[in-house]
Symmetry: C2
Subunit: 197 residues, 2 copies
């Protein structure tokens, strides 16, 4: 095949991938990972079921592509604020707001488990950029902290906030009105900040 013939095949595959991600994204937005059915996605994208597996290595890759769009949305939601002293609390509040507004696709970020495979590099890079938003205010609080330790601290703080948002929104431990959850999360981050100083 000549280069000229290859190009359209590549472009067609790229278009097919986009259509499949669109269809999968719509399903996840509606009902989370449980709503993601290969047959319906193929139908939505107007292709045969088997075409999914010519466009993607496996369903995991397709899910990660949807989750990558969610990461981009989340990053946009978090990256709007200024860099004042309440930056960590603002990030926490924005994270909670995003989880509330986009519950099914937010949950899909965490419900998906890669069986025996490390996260692909392109996905890990997007995650890194997201955590960078947390590292910046942490660095202002801990100017002496080495970069690797800051990286780890940002992920730990994210995980803690995530736990509060997750169990709070599900009301797993007790009935939790929205305003109480907002206040608890904010107080928690403020306490943590005081401890860092």
């Amino acid at each position: 095949m000549t280069e000229k013939q290859l190009q359209p095949a590549k472009a067609r595959r790229a278009q097919l991938r986009e259509r499949l991600i669109d269809a999968a994204e719509a399903a996840v937005e509606r009902g989370g990972l449980a709503a993601l059915k290969a047959r319906e996605i193929a139908l939505g994208a107007g292709c045969a079921l088997g075409a999914i597996y010519t466009a993607f290595e496996d369903l995991d890759e397709l899910i990660l592509c949807v989750n990558q769009r969610t990461l981009a949305q989340l990053e946009k939601a978090l990256a709007t604020g200024g860099a004042d002293g309440d930056e960590l609390r603002r990030l926490g509040a924005e994270y909670l707001a995003y989880a509330r507004a986009e519950a099914p696709r937010w949950r899909a970020l965490f419900e998906h488990r890669m069986p025996e495979k490390p996260l692909p590099e392109w996905y890990a890079r997007d995650l890194d950029r997201l955590f960078g938003l947390l590292e910046a205010p942490l660095q202002r609080l801990l100017p002496e902290e080495p970069a690797e330790a800051l990286r780890a601290k940002a992920r730990t703080l994210f995980s803690a906030v995530h736990g509060i948002v997750l169990l709070g929104l599900e009301e797993k431990l007790q009935p939790t009105p929205a305003s109480a959850l907002d206040a608890e999360l904010s107080a928690f981050i403020a306490t943590f900040e005081r401890g860092l100083r």
Copy 2:
């Protein structure tokens, strides 16, 4: 029916419930909620499929009975230590150890969602007792704090620790060696304690 005739029927139902909880517990221990199939549980308990629904209101009630046993295990694992200054860190470390050792049944505590129903009172009471373990050291740190605020703080701190354990064990955000997770969790709780003082 006379009282005398009723008793054996009650006792038989109680025994059937125990056998069904045993069978469900074994399944959850092996593979979490995903391994819990009504047909296999009935087989394991030596009863007809329909008998599950004479012994329990629904599968949710059966799952909560298994989760109640997990809460009791967890409470036993957490309640072993003394009341020194590192009590919160010790509780965090024990929680992480339990989650590592009993991953499928620990996950089942959180994966199960009650559809549109509040948690039954007997389950909420066991949860309360578990959080009491956290409230005691928090109260020593915050002797002035009103009881309701302490209650909420204990649940928030639990949720934060849970998030760190959950995302750390799943290595969702980055590869996390066991020793790094131990150290991050401990440092996190120490920072939070400093912030409370």
